[in-house]
Symmetry: C2
């Protein structure tokens, strides 16, 4: 069950984010400015910039699934400076996520999720997904989206949400 | 199961949002400007303002649970203009959500969720929560948060996330 509420949705949201980056590139090209201006933008002087928002969104998905399953995650050095590097970061994260199966999450709901910052306290896997992983993922993707939106990139909520799995 | 991943989290996030509104009020008071300036702010000229973000966040929770359970939702006229009115809107939504029980969601996962805009297509309740209700709720709360953050209100991610249900 925790597989279903994490992996496919993380992949979907990161894929949407990757497409949003393409729209940022098009906007910069059209307006003839360096896209790295956008990548280094933020909404407040003491807020993480766009690059860092993307890195954290990726890590929320990557480390979230790693913690929930005990499967080791690839390391990323957080050195991205360009749009192609940021897109590669997202794609590498998606590739990692795509290897998970439902079976990897068999004991995730009751697994004790710990964190250096949490001392000797823990969250159950189920609480971790609901209170930490999902709200954090959406927070950083929406913040990245907002930085672009504020700077005139032509994106809308549909770019963020992606396709709905409609049935007939 | 869908009760657990919606109602308590919707209540928590709206309660966090309500506390964020109090911080906006304090900021306006300290800086001696009318808080309604913040309420009418937005990050892009064609984006919904702060008030509308709060209204949509509330409706995402309210109408989401109503659709998932078939239980009628109270109507709200979307006429809020002041901070106390916005807080009342949030509180009225929370009061509605608090009446739900696990049993109300017994058939929600497989329920067909329809929408005037979706024509004859539908989402299963499970897909609706994952692809629509949760991403939308977090989107509008984070956007409201970002509008305040951009305007100097002293809030951080902890205000958005709220308390973690840590265990020892």
């Amino acid at each position: 069950m925790l597989f279903q509420s994490t992996v496919p949705q993380f992949i979907k949201m990161l894929t949407n984010l990757n497409a949003i980056l393409d729209k940022a590139a098009i906007h910069a090209e059209t307006k003839k400015f360096d896209v790295e201006v956008l990548l280094n933008s933020r909404l407040a002087p003491d807020q993480f910039n766009f690059i860092r928002q993307i890195q954290i969104a990726c890590d929320t998905a990557k480390l979230g699934c790693s913690r929930l399953t005990g499967k080791e995650a690839p390391t990323h050095a957080d050195t991205e400076k360009t749009l192609p590097e940021l897109k590669a970061r997202i794609e590498s994260t998606v590739t990692y996520l795509q290897k998970f199966t439902d079976a990897d999450f068999a004991d995730s709901a009751t697994r004790k999720i710990t964190h250096a910052r949490w001392g000797d306290e823990y969250l159950t896997g189920e609480d971790f997904v609901q209170h930490h992983a999902l709200p954090n993922l959406y927070f950083h993707i929406t913040t990245a989206y907002s930085i672009l939106r504020h700077n005139g990139v032509e994106i809308g909520k549909k770019d963020y949400l992606g396709k709905m799995p409609f049935k007939k």
